[in-house]
Structures are given as C-alpha cells and as structure tokens.
C-alpha cells in the first residue's frame, strides 16, 4: 500500500466530514450494520483515515450499499459519526466520477 496520506481526511472536510480520525476502529459499526457485509463500513473509514484514495475509488461502488439507517452512528462509542462519513465519501466519490467522466461498466 502506498504511503499514508493524512491530507485526505483534511480534504474530506470539504465534503462535510470532520470526524474521520475520531474513529478508534472498534468495529461496532461493521458489526451493527444491517448489511452484515464483511468489514463495511469500517473498512471504508479506515481507508479514509490512512488516506488510501485509490482504495476508496476502486471500491467506491460499495459505498452505495449503505442504507443510511444511522445505526452505526447511533452506537458509535466515540461519536465519530460513521454514517455521515460514508455519506461524505459518497459525495467525494461521485464528485470524482463526474469530474473524470466515469462511465459505469
């Protein structure tokens, strides 16, 4: 994996997310998520924390699995707002797709 890039959490603030690094990776969000889908959403949050832009864009489609049900945000022990983080990442990814003229395949 490339270098950790903490400018990414800063960049996410433009997409309405300021709690990226508040998360201490306890995994409550992943476990409570009704999707019961591997490490979602913590995986995305961790990628955002370490600034793995490429991973987020590669797996961008996954972000739309989120139901925006808010259970992760409700139960997050750190009040890191994982639900809003996922929404912010959606905005970030959509912004990129649109800017790059991304065509779904």
């Amino acid at each position: 994996m490339a270098f950790v890039d903490l400018s990414f959490p800063d960049e996410l603030e433009r997409f309405g997310v300021s709690t990226t690094l508040d998360c201490f990776n306890c995994g409550t969000c992943a476990a409570i998520c009704p999707l019961i889908y591997e490490h979602f959403p913590r995986q995305m949050i961790r990628y955002a924390q370490i600034g793995a832009r490429d991973r987020i864009l590669e797996n961008g489609v996954e972000l739309w699995r989120c139901l925006h049900c808010g259970l992760c945000t409700q139960t997050c022990p750190r009040e890191a707002n994982p639900g809003e983080l996922i929404l912010g990442l959606r905005r970030y990814v959509l912004h990129h797709w649109r800017r790059d003229g991304h065509v779904p395949s």
């Binding site: 994996m1 950790v4 903490l6 508040d22 998360c23 995986q43 370490i50």
Partner: protein, 640 residues
C-alpha cells in the same frame, strides 16, 4: 479482664491443643477433605478440639478460636490455612484478644503447600501430617514476651525524586527528623526532565519546586546531596547508615552562582537536571546516620533501546520519548511546523511498548539475559500527551502512533486518547511478532525515514508511514541499585523491581521490618501514583515510630545456665557481632564463665544452637526439641 489471663499463659498447665482448619472458601476444601481432616486431627494426642470454618481468618472464624481459649478448652493453638506469611499475625492477635499469649501458636500451611499443589487423597494425607507436626510443636510451645526496643523518631529517605521528596515532607510534617539522601547533586529525579505532566498538564518543574521548597524550609529535614549509602546495620527503630559523600563529578558540576544560599533561600531549578537545595559537598567524607526507618525511593531509569532497535543508535532521526520531551520543551514555540536542530519535522512516528511487554521468543534479551515482560504503565499516556502537545502547537506536524494496546487506564487518560484522535493523530496497531520496521527512505516518501507496519486496523495490510522523526516510547527499568540490594538484602522480584511483602496486605513494606518502598523502585508508576505510594510509606513509617518504641518478635537465643559449660563455642559461631558473650557468673559460690545473649542484637539464626556442645542454647519459638517433635510426627505416619 482478669479471668482472661488464664490458662494459656500459665506454662504449668498441661498443653491442650486446639486445631482450626480453614476451608479458605474452597481453596483448601476443594482439594483436601477437610471433614476427614478434622475428625482425624481431633484424635492426635494432646489435641483437645479440632474445628473447621469456611474462612478461619474471618471474624466468626477467629471467634471460634477465641471462644475456645476463653472457655479454657484449649491453651495451644494450631491454625491450618494459607501460608503463615499472610495470616500468622492475624491469629496471633486473636490469641492476644482472647487473653492468651500470642506465641502459643503454630501455623500449618495447607494451602500454598498442599491444596494448591497436590490433589486428592495424598493432599488430605499431607495436610494431616503437617497438622500433626504443628500440633506436636504446639505441645512444646511456651508463652513468650515480645522484645521492646526504643525507636528513634527519625526516618531516612533514599532518593530525592518526586517520591522521596513527598515521603520526606510527609514524615517531617508528622514530626520526625528526616535524612533525605540523594546520589546526585539535584533533587527531582526523573520528573525534572519532564516538561508538563500528563494528563493534567501542570509544569513538572513546579511540581518538584513546590515539594523542594518545603524540604528546604523544613527544619526537620536534612538533605544530603551527592551521598551514597555504603554501610547498613541494625533493625527497625535503630538502623544505622553510613554515607559516603563526594563532591559532584565534573559533568554534574554546578557553577556556585547557581547555588541557592544556605539556610532559607529559594531552591533553584536547573532544567533537565533538577533542583539545587543548598551547598554541595566540596570534599569526600563519611557521615553516620542513625535512623528508625528507611524509605527506599530510588526510582527508575528509562529503558535504553538496543543499538538498531527500531533504528535507535543507527539512524539519527530516531530518539526516545524522554529525549523527545526534552527536545520539544526546548523547541521554538512559534511556527506551524516543529523544528528540531534546524530541521522541519512534518511527520513523527511514535512507537509504543519499546522495552516493555517483551515476550520470550519474540524480543531479544538484554546483555544480562533479561526481558522486560511487564507493562511500564506510564508510556501510553505520556505518548498521547506528547502527541497532543505537538498537534496543538505545530498544526502542520503530523503524528502517527504505533501501538499494541492503548493503556489509557487512569483518570483523564482516555480523554487524552480521544483528544489525540480529535487532534488527527493516526493510530496504527501492530502485533508483537510483527513490529513496525523503521527504515531509511528511498526518497519516495519525501522524508528521511519510512516506518512500515502490518496494520491490524487495516486488516493486516502493510502500511507505510513517512517520518521525519521516530520517537520510541521506552519503558521503565529500576535504577541500578545492586549495591543497596546487596547491602540491605533487599528482595527483588522477577521484574528486577523491589518486591513488597504482599501487594494488598503490605503493599509498601519490604520483608525486613522498617524498610519501606516509595515510588518507581517498586514498579512503574506515574507521578500521582508515586506520590501516593510515598505518602503511604510515610504513613507506615509513622505507625512504626509514633509510639517511640518498636515491638520485636521474641525469637532470640536463650541460654540454659544449668547446662552451659562456658566453652565459648557459641560466641565463635555467632553471626551477629556481640549478640552473645561470655560473662562471669557465680554458681554455687563459684565464679564461672557462662554465655549470655544480648537480645536486641540477636538475629535468632541459631548458629549458636548447633555449635553448643551441651545443647544449652535454644532459639525461642524454634527449639530443636520442637523440630524433633515435628519430624517425629511427619515420620510416624505411612506416606500416603
């Protein structure tokens, strides 16, 4: 009261042994058939009664014993329970409360040496034989009177770090004369090298100064800088220490202008060194200190990483947390990027558990073959605190923390951890077998170093962190006090820290009565905990000395004048100087030489006992006859 002083203290009365067997809430009774034991014990010759209780040490348990004593049913007591180190004193005091002599008591250890190590039939059988042996000894026990020795209202504190200062101030306030000894010219110890204290953020210098001021002002405290203990002797209440004082070594030399004037001047704080409290010795000398108790506050030293451990000693950009704290303290406070030695530090990697929580087979032993398997307790919060300081003072300096577990256990510490997250510190978690690797960068990172780690939080993927600086959160090790350990015969634990008698029953006491522990010489602690330990040690010292005398166990040698032939072999054998001497006595109008014991000096070792050709000397409370009786009891039954 008068009817209480009955039977047991009356030696002429035939021994009637009471046996009291503890279940220890299953600790014993799960492995030893206590009911059978009780039945059999009652049949031992000389035994008047055998009883059992879930917890003999509890009030109802003790009451059983006391009731039997009061009613005259028994006059010798055997309790079969846990190790005597735990509760021998408990039961002796119960005897005393019931009006009996506390020394007509014998303990059988059927927990640590039976139920916890043997099981089934053999365990019960061994327990029975130990009880038989104890009963055999008990039949031969005689009432003894404790020795009472004058105690000096004086305490000595070794080490003038934060714990030593605290203990000295507390003891002086309590009305004792205090000698405060310090190896270096400075008071303050390791705390003097800190900047601010986690998690609350007060200045370390202020903390030291506030105690140092009181030390300086206090007429009861004598501060001995540059002093080492070279001689140690005596017993509680009457220790004597010999100090060697030497002028400070060249590297510790302090310009006289820096020194506070003698008497009531202000103490002077020298950053990274400590506080000067007065004049330093200018020539070599020896000082004798007579004291009642000794508080050990010898502190810790930070772990020094091996050469090459996380690049330490090989890569100049790698330093320890204590070094970093000093560097950070001295760094320019302005600017958005931390500058160290003229170099901008944009990215700091902090690695936890360096020299702590080491695991055999994974970590390398040090030169003397030791591993620090313990947690150093303070490094997590110190690291988090430093990270927060960096992030708030230098917003463009990034901090990464590589950890195994974040141990922000104390008050305000979890909050530090949260604050670090808020401050955008990135945490990476590693497994001990896959520690971070600190490497020279190939240039792609834009930093001199790169730290690679298999990050458990990123599903075990390898993550690379660019680093301008690597800070190693090194653990604590006890300071090198082997000289004191040898001199004072101090017990040391497997972790090389000084070992208390029992962490809960006697947490600040050493096995030798009158030697007390304060602070990080016992285990890693933060400033609050060290101060608490120091005050606790002071409290124990006060309990010992407040009455002006100390009671000692009467287990000393005693000469049977009838048998003594005055050969003097005992005097030769005696291991304590002058504890036994030959004196002229008149027997049947004839002046003869006979041995005499100086009780306060007698150690009770019994070297004289074996040496006496006529069997005229015994150690009270452990006579040869008693041992013979115990061996008889053990040998008389078939092994299970």
């Amino acid at each position: 009261m008068e009817e209480k002083r009955n039977l047991a203290s009356d030696g002429s009365d035939a021994p009637r042994v009471g046996i009291y067997i503890c279940h220890c809430g299953g600790n014993i009774s799960d492995h030893v058939d206590v009911e059978v034991l009780c039945e059999k014990a009652e049949k031992i010759p000389g035994v008047a009664v055998a009883r059992r209780n879930m917890f003999m040490c509890s009030d109802p348990g003790q009451e059983l014993i006391m009731e039997d004593i009061r009613s005259g049913k028994v006059n010798r007591i055997v309790v079969a329970s846990c190790s005597p180190s735990l509760h021998e004193m408990t039961f002796r005091s119960a005897l005393e409360r019931a009006g009996a002599n506390p020394y007509v008591y014998e303990h059988a250890n059927i927990r640590e040496q039976v139920s916890w190590v043997h099981h089934g039939e053999p365990a019960t059988e061994k327990a029975f034989q130990l009880i038989s042996a104890a009963a055999a000894k008990a039949r031969l026990l005689e009432p003894l009177e404790p020795l009472r020795v004058e105690a000096r209202r004086h305490a000595t504190v070794i080490g003038a770090g934060i714990a030593g200062l605290r203990a000295a101030v507390d003891l002086a306030d309590r009305g004792f004369q205090v000698a405060l000894l310090e190896k270096t010219p400075f008071a303050g110890g390791r705390v003097a090298r800190l900047d601010r204290l986690a998690p609350t953020g007060e200045a370390a210098s202020e903390a030291i100064l506030s105690l140092a001021r009181r030390v300086m002002e206090h007429p009861a405290i004598t501060f001995y800088p540059c002093a080492q203990v070279v001689g140690f002797d005596g017993y509680v209440g009457n220790f004597s220490l010999e100090l060697q004082v030497e002028p400070p070594a060249a590297e510790d030399a302090v310009p006289p202008s820096n020194l506070p004037p003698a008497g009531d001047g202000e103490p002077v704080f020298v950053p990274s060194r400590g506080v000067l409290l007065g004049p330093l010795p200018t020539e070599k000398g020896r000082i004798q200190v007579e004291t009642g108790v000794v508080v050990l506050a010898t502190g810790f030293k930070p772990y020094t990483p091996r050469k090459g451990e996380y690049g330490y000693g090989e890569l100049p950009e790698v330093m320890t947390l204590p070094q970093f704290i000093e560097a950070l303290r001295d760094a320019q406070a302005d600017g958005s990027v931390l500058m160290l030695s003229g170099r901008p530090i944009r990215s700091i990697a902090m690695i936890h558990c360096v020299g702590s929580r080491q695991i055999p087979g994974i970590h390398e032993e040090d030169a003397s073959g030791y591993l620090n398997e313990y947690c150093s307790r303070t490094c997590c919060s110190a690291t988090l605190f430093a990270a927060n300081q960096v992030r708030t003072r230098y917003p463009e300096t990034r901090v990464f923390e590589f950890y195994r577990d974040i141990r922000a256990y104390g008050r305000g510490q979890e909050e530090l951890y949260q604050e670090a997250a808020r401050n955008k510190v990135l945490f990476l978690r590693f497994e001990p077998e896959d520690p971070p690797r600190v490497e020279r960068s190939d240039g792609s990172s834009g930093t001199p170093l790169v730290v690679r780690v298999k990050d458990a939080l990123t599903f075990g993927e390898e993550v690379q962190v660019p680093a301008d600086l690597v800070v190693l959160a090194v653990g604590m090790e006890p300071t090198g006090i082997q000289d004191l350990v040898d001199l004072m015969k101090l017990p040391v634990g497997a972790d090389r820290f000084l070992l208390e008698v029992h962490p809960k029953l006697r947490p600040v006491e050493l096995a030798t009565t009158g030697l007390l522990l304060a602070g990080t010489c016992q285990a890693p602690m933060d400033v609050s905990e060290a101060c608490n330990a120091a005050s606790a040690a002071a409290s124990k010292a006060a309990s010992l000395l407040a009455k002006g005398y100390v009671q000692l166990d009467p287990f000393v040698a005693e000469v049977d004048m009838e048998k003594c032939q005055g050969t003097g072999s005992c005097v030769e054998a005696c291991l304590a100087d002058g504890a036994i001497e030959l004196v002229d006595v008149v027997v049947n109008g004839e002046t003869v030489r006979r041995a005499r014991v100086v009780q306060a000096l007698c150690l009770g070792c019994g070297a004289c006992v074996a040496a006496c050709p006529s069997g005229a000397i015994q150690v009270k409370g452990s006579t040869l006859a008693q041992f013979e009786a115990m061996v008889d009891a053990i040998a008389s039954h078939e092994a299970a």
